[in-house]
Symmetry: none
Subunit: 201 residues, 4 copies
DNA sequence: TATGAATGAGATTTCATTCAT
DNA sequence: AATGAATGAAATCTCATTCAT
């Protein structure tokens, strides 16, 4: 990467980072492009060299941040010495992501309910940034590693993702109706029910 | 109610109705107060006699629309000749609400993921409009009618509401990952699992 | 005064008092009629039964507050046992008013530079509220009590009033360029010069 | 100065000039920003590139206009062939400013009672626009040129400025209580008294 | 007299986007 | 590629005044 490319990449990264900070502290609506560029230290016109508008930038951020969560979870799963049962793997990944979000509430608040089926499905089918996780691989890995045929695999993954993302949002950010520690046993227990409903052991 | 009071109520209702239509067709962000008042046929200043701002109006609408869903579901449950098993009642109410939302996608889109724990909890604890459902009654009815002691009743209700609202959003509006008809058996099956995890039969 | 009249007078007084408080704390421009009436506890329409607009109310207040200052100063002068030299009387009244304003900075700030020739002249020629001082009497008293013919008496009174009101404003409120105590000797000395320029002793 | 900078300065100047005309004809309160920009021929947003609000613009105008008065008076004093007695210089400057204001009643009305100690003091201590008069120099020149030590020089200057500005306002604009020609002898006579009270000859 | 809901013109301010440099 | 002054439409919100009750 040449010096010019590096310089160029740096402006884009600066815009993304600054925008993430503003979005998580002030919210998307209350954050203006003027604020983003002035905080990022670039000129107003420069914004439009990298992004179509504020929403384009937001979508790029959601994909990237979601990807990072899965990337780290899968990487840690692979490097762990745990025995790799199917159910265990699923729970391990979910638990790891929940822990990341508990540590990093800004990210949780930002992708919050956006880490839902829409984004997941979109990430499954669109070409990702080279450094981001390819969700299609993740998905296939899950199905192929199942001990038996999975009935309606998409519905299964869908229900798990929706259940986890919506309950964790409230529990981690507001401890409502209980803190995340209290919720986990119930949550993981129910995830196992969902798995069993779709897979014959 | 005097003539003046009736007139006053009518203006407020007109603003609420018009705003709901605009919010569901154009979205909250793209709807301006100018549009709301001009469509409602009232003066701009009148808006500020009834609402603090656009978001105040939205919150009032969410409470009201959510309430209506429960109100109708409970009323129909009571008037039905079904035998009233506990599980059956729960499923009946959920199914009824899902059917209402399937018929009325605008409402679903509007309250969408807002019919979540935050709203429910808020509705449980704040005084409602006299004509709206008192959620506290609904909640107590659920707990008291349980066949046995309910362990962590709030967590149970929380998980059910989050699971239902987030999965139905995608299924009803986008048939993703499947249509609502396909989803229902899996969903209701899982709800029963949740109930069983919290109640000893 | 009948009960109804008393009631009526009370609303007007309430509006005047409330407005004075708001004008002195927030300023005339930033005070709206809505605020005045809501703080005064009367309906919006009622305001227009007593005052033409905000500026009408302000003028009434200025006249009234200025009058009170003179009224008290003259009353105290008359009741004092001092020997009544002409110069002494003038200085006594001025000193008394300055002391009142030092104690009551809100009033000073309000009438501030309005206690100028315009208001004074206006108060000289317009019918005052029955309970307020008649400035014409004050003026004539000054001229008639002079030990000798006064040359251009209006100019003399004018210069004294302008000098006193504009210097005291800054000295009392901001101690700029010095506090009122330091200013007084210079000020009174100069007032004597003005008197001597217009009166042959 | 580049083409862009010149263009920029021109917009600002246009806004200042237009605002001054409107302020002096309609008054500050009755002049809206919309009017200013439409008369100045710039877009509404442009206003906010140069001024925080209407009052920021007004303050900039007051400083500038006051400075211009002194600048011209001092320049003419220096270029005159008069013998430079101390008293003579003071009276010359005052007389010159009064004459300027008599010719230019709009300016008088605008800066009116604002050409008072507050503005003067502020102008003494804050950095002025490069083209404006440095009031600190004026002040020092006055003190240093005095024939003898000046006792409480600030109080002396303060009293003169306040006396002149408040009496001239009424005399020039309304010929109340007399026209400026009639007032001058009395005024200048009294100024000499003030000077003598502070300086031993 | 007294009320206060309703008005709606208009004020202030924001901000995404463009374009000449 | 980068800049940032300029734009001007549009958004929010205020508030003096009216008038039916």
């Amino acid at each position: 990467m040449g010096k010019l490319d590096a310089n160029k990449k740096q402006k884009e990264t600066s815009l993304l980072d600054t925008a993430f900070n503003l979005f998580t502290t002030k919210g998307l609506n209350k954050t203006s492009i003027s604020e983003i560029v002035s905080n990022a230290g670039v000129a107003k016109g420069t914004f439009y060299l990298y992004f179509k508008d504020k929403y384009d930038l937001r979508n790029r951020l959601i994909s990237h941040k979601s990807s990072q969560l899965f990337k780290q979870a899968i990487s840690q799963m692979k490097s762990s010495d745990m025995q790799h049962s199917f159910e265990g793997d699923i729970i391990f990944v979910i638990d790891n992501i929940i822990n990341q979000l508990t540590e990093n509430k800004a990210t949780l608040n930002f992708i919050s309910k956006n880490l839902s089926w829409g984004v997941f499905k979109n990430a499954l089918t669109t070409k990702t940034n080279e450094k981001d996780v390819d969700f299609a691989d993740v998905y296939n890995m899950i199905i192929e590693n199942a001990p038996n045929t999975v009935k309606d695999p998409e519905i299964m993954v869908f229900m798990i993702i929706e259940l986890v993302s919506s309950t964790c949002y409230s529990a981690i950010l507001y401890s409502e109706p209980c803190d995340i520690g209290t919720l986990k046993p119930y949550l993981y227990h129910n995830i196992k029910h969902i798995l069993h409903d779709h897979i014959d052991y």
